[in-house]
Amino acid sequence: MTSNASDDRGPDLTQGVTLADFGGRPLLRGHVGDDAVVLARVGDEVMAVGASCTHYGGPLDKGLVVGDTLRCPWHHACFSLRSGEAVGAPAFDPLPCWQVEREESASRCPGRSRPRRSRCARRWPSRPSGS
């Protein structure tokens, strides 16, 4: 029940991806440095969160976007795409969030919005404009 580390890492999200790269799907897995990140389209917005479920490491890019939540395909943990919070068990720990910059038709992730910490009660920065 661990995530499959040998999967294709997907595009380097710091270089930018276009909406066409999503291939008509709402989720796109890529990476920022060594971190696996999933981009999720919600309406006209694009949000970016960690790609591995914090329950048992399930592949969130194979999950389902419902409203502004992302559900894991393995055990249906439910995360807020806006804050990364695990709003529905069996996951408890939040996903890290990345800022997404929109440049005309491209979306890129310049870097982590905060250092990785393993404690809760983190403050999430406000979302950048441009979506």
């Binding site: 029940m1 194979k62 999950g63 389902l64 419902v66 559900r71 395909p73 393995w74 055990h75 249906h76 919070e85 529905g88 068990a89 069996p90 408890f92 404690r119 809760c120 009660a121």
Partner: protein, 364 residues
């Protein structure tokens, strides 16, 4: 969830289990099979609770709840006052009064300690008998089989999990187990347990260094009863999971609450339901007035095949199979009164999520 939502007041967890709150599904799955280290089983470390000022009282048995005086008293004489109380006392395994079942090598599985004890015996055992072909019985059988024991499964049912999943999936699951060498004795039961063997109702004798009883659980409601709360096959709560006593809630295996669609009450013994209900209770303790309407989700693992189940079908009028069960790529719909009451899926993870979302939107 209380701390996440900003509650900063006194918060205590009283548990008669001496172990930290743990990942219960794993106790019958990978941990029991020896695939996962012990340190993965507690959900959180002690430090987690300390950092959040959660007073974790383990090995602490509560004896009495005074709903008017708003005090909980423990067996060792301590008192814990409360403004809000959650009862989540869980369920305990049923122990059938089978002659010889009080011996040391006859075990049930509920707690972390139970799982460790079974593992310790399994390391010395060559043969095992599992009584029960429900989720726990079958998962324990598979785990012991993975450890190299010769396992026999005994069950009163005609097929494993037939009442929950139907005959086709029941047969398929039995096959998954039989392919690994487990032997099934259906429509049978244990008449008595000897020192190293069991005797079945039909007279056959099966070697058994270890016997596991997996014949269901019953909710632990005596505290609720003692407190004067309404109990009827579970602790009765409303859609907010609140009992008749304001500020006192119940969640998990003990809670019986009204289903949003049918209005009938239900009590569910599944992990994700228990956890989600705890989260909803936290919100409601803080005044959120959130009805519990999450769609049931559970999963079960059988020799590498995961079955995902969404919804709740207490019986069905029609069963539709999409895909190919033998190919491990299928979705089974259980239809009642013209709607899909539940689905079971193998290899259809995205579809299972979609069904869950559909059922969810049907409840709003």
């Amino acid at each position: 969830m209380l701390r996440r939502r900003g509650y900063q007041g006194a918060l205590a967890i009283l548990s008669d289990d001496p172990d930290l709150p743990c990942d219960r599904p794993n106790l019958s799955k990978d941990f029991l099979a020896g695939k996962v280290p012990e340190k993965w089983i507690p959900l959180k470390s002690r430090k987690f609770y300390e950092r959040r000022d959660i007073d974790l009282q383990l090995g602490t048995r509560v004896e009495w709840i005074d709903t008017d005086g708003r005090i909980v008293r423990t067996a060792d004489g301590r008192e814990f006052p409360f403004d809000r109380l959650l009862l989540a006392t869980g369920a305990e395994p049923v122990r059938l009064p089978i002659p010889g079942a009080d011996q040391d090598h006859v075990r049930t599985l509920r707690s972390f300690a139970d799982s460790r004890a079974i593992i310790a015996r399994a390391e010395q055992a060559k043969t095992a008998v599992v009584l029960g072909s429900g989720f726990i019985g079958l998962e324990v059988a598979a785990a012991l089989c993975k450890r190299g024991l010769k396992v026999h499964v005994i069950s009163r049912d005609e097929r494993p999990l037939e009442k929950v999943l139907g005959p086709e999936l029941g047969d398929f699951i039995r096959q998954l187990h039989e392919e690994k060498g487990e032997v099934f004795h259906m429509k049978n039961s244990i008449a008595c347990v000897g020192a190293g063997e069991v005797t079945l109702d039909d007279g056959s004798r099966i070697p058994a260094d270890l016997v596991i009883l997996g014949v269901g659980v019953k909710p632990r409601v005596s505290l609720a009863e003692g407190a004067g709360l309404k109990v009827d096959h579970g602790v009765i709560v409303d859609e907010h999971l609140e009992t008749g006593a304001p500020g006192i809630f119940a969640a998990g295996d003990i809670a019986r609450w009204p289903d949003a669609i049918s209005g009938e009450t239900q009590r569910i013994e599944h992990w994700v339901v228990a956890e989600r209900q705890g989260q909803t209770v936290a919100e409601n303790m803080l005044g959120a007035r959130q009805p519990y309407r999450d769609v049931l989700f559970c999963w079960s693992a059988h020799h590498g095949v995961s079955i995902r189940y969404v919804g709740h079908a207490q019986g069905w009028d029609a069963l539709e199979i999409d895909g190919d069960i033998a190919a491990r790529d299928c979705l089974v719909r259980y239809r009642k009164d013209g709607r899909t009451a539940a689905i079971a899926a193998i290899g259809r993870d995205r579809q299972a999520l979609e069904c869950e979302a559909e059922m969810e939107s049907g409840r709003r």
